[in-house]
């Protein structure tokens, strides 16, 4: 499995001098599982990837969306394969109760907000809604999506290929006290306890013995807000230890976090982690 980090920044794209080294594009991972082309999330990192895919004539594309907050879908209108008639793009995400995935993407890409409506895309585009915890096969990869504790409907992905495992656990508050997702919040105390157990087991299943876990570490401990739906490096370390992972990528960097601050965070948590750890950096390619 080949992985390229195309966008590592959380919340909104950051075009500023403080973020040139680690990168300011919003989340996007390119994952090649043999001949199968997978993409996780469609932040602005997907714009440059799209041009590369057209150049490589790699137009059978599977796009896994964690959730539909702007920073995870805003690159899609600028994704070049959409405007190529030979492209076939399948978009996957957890099902929402009240709105189809296609409707959400069409709402982003319509007049008067977007110059080219999704209906005018030249590629063949299909939407596939996933169920929490149900395994699916995409090309050569086995994939499972588990619900995470974050506002709206958010899922993380476990991708397995030839015995290697990539785990994408973003955006999430891993051990937070408050349930944040749609449909979680208004149950009885017993239902809420059941949700907490379910979410923590889901995160553990995503991460179990992963060769690489890419994990939301938006907050530093002193910045943590329990109602935002993001984690701290210490949370990622805890999950990584419980799940016995091989390697951790700190991900979804806070927009104002400077390159030097990210260097310092990486150095600090490397000392604490019982496994290999690095801060995600735009452009990094690695093989599992």
């Amino acid at each position: 499995m080949q992985i390229t980090f195309r966008g590592v920044r959380g919340s909104y794209p950051v075009a500023a001098p403080h973020s040139v080294r680690y990168g300011g594009n919003t989340p996007c991972l390119e994952v090649s599982a043999g001949e199968t082309c997978l993409i996780i999330d469609a932040g602005t990192g997907i714009c440059s990837l799209g041009k590369d895919l057209v150049e490589r004539d790699q137009l059978e594309i599977h796009l896994l969306i964690g959730h539909t907050h702007w920073d995870h879908i805003q690159g899609f209108p600028h994704f070049a394969p959409q405007y190529n008639k030979n492209a076939h793009i399948r978009i996957y995400s957890l099902a929402h109760e009240d709105r189809s995935l296609g409707d959400i993407f069409r709402a982003q890409q319509q007049a008067p907000f977007s110059p080219i409506p999704l209906a005018d895309a030249e590629a063949q585009i299909e939407f596939i809604e996933l169920q929490d915890g149900e395994p699916i096969t995409i090309g050569e990869a086995q994939i499972t999506c588990h619900r995470l504790n974050h506002p709206s409907v958010t899922g993380g992905y476990r991708i397995e290929h030839q015995g290697k495992v990539l785990s994408y656990v973003s955006d999430v508050d891993l051990y937070g006290p408050i349930l944040l997702g749609d449909g979680m919040k208004n149950g009885s105390p017993e239902q809420q306890r059941a949700w907490h157990r379910h979410l923590q087991k889901g995160a553990l299943d995503l991460a179990h013995r992963a060769d690489l876990m890419v994990c939301d570490t938006f907050f530093l401990p002193e910045e943590y807000k329990p109602d935002w739906g993001h984690s701290r490096p210490g949370d990622a370390l805890r999950l990584g230890e419980e799940a016995q992972i091989e390697r951790l990528a700190l991900f979804h960097h806070e927009p104002h976090r400077s390159d030097d601050e990210i260097d310092a965070i990486q150095a600090r948590y490397r000392k604490e982690a019982p496994f290999d750890l690095f801060a995600s950096v735009e452009g990094l390619e690695l093989a599992l």
């Binding site: 909104y12 075009a15 500023a16 990168g23 539909t68 702007w70 008067p112 709206s152």
Partner: protein, 275 residues
Amino acid sequence: MKVKLWGTRAQVPTPHPNTQIHGGNTVCLEVQVEGTHTLILDAGMGLHWLGNDLLKGDFGRGQGRAHILLTHVHWDHIQGIPFFIPMLIPGNHVTIYGPDTALPSQLRTQMDTIFCPVPNFFLEGIGADVVVEDVEASDFSIGTAKIKTALINHQAGITCLGFRIEANGRSIAYLPDVEYLQEAHRQQVIDLIAGVDLLFHDAMLTSEEYPKHRGRGHCSIDDGIDIAVRAKVGRLVLFSHHPDRSDTEIDTILAACSGNGVAVDAGREGTEYAL
């Protein structure tokens, strides 16, 4: 009058080492007129960084007053609004002007919980006082600044405005997205911008690129120069840079613009013009 560039890029924010000089934030200008509240032209990602700067003054204490003028609501002109922190502080007062009676619902849609984790400050009782006004082709004043608007040809089916701001005998005009498909389109613009000191004009496409994109809402850089010369503007600022354009390419384009009968700058994030 002082004008500061917070975002110069068209279509999509472009964080990249090759955009450090001219900037990768989508379009946003700050206009400060003595004795008048903060004026802001368009609300691309540059608005976030402008907002953080404003927090150092009255806006950080909930005593700020700003007026945001939107040319239209393509994402690259409004995507900074959810991240404009002064909106979250009670006591601040922000008026947003735009070209469509549906503007309030459009701005609420951008902050729908399915897209946006930030509390929707277009709903009652959250953060600053926000007023949204429809100003399709009307002239009005904000403090001592006179605002003139005109309907501009951009994309078919999209209502798009151009702005002229006059204060204390100085003037600027702002046309980030415009295409000239007929002489009438040019005349509308020339009437609006005639004789301004400073013109911010769409420079997304070169003349070589333009024919492929004809009819999609953007003119060529040479069209911008032609308009600036005909309208006798003092200085033309190339604006709305294409997302694929590197700093070096923009510098090359700028160098080729000299000797055309008008002073030309390439819009650069962080630049401040004092008029």
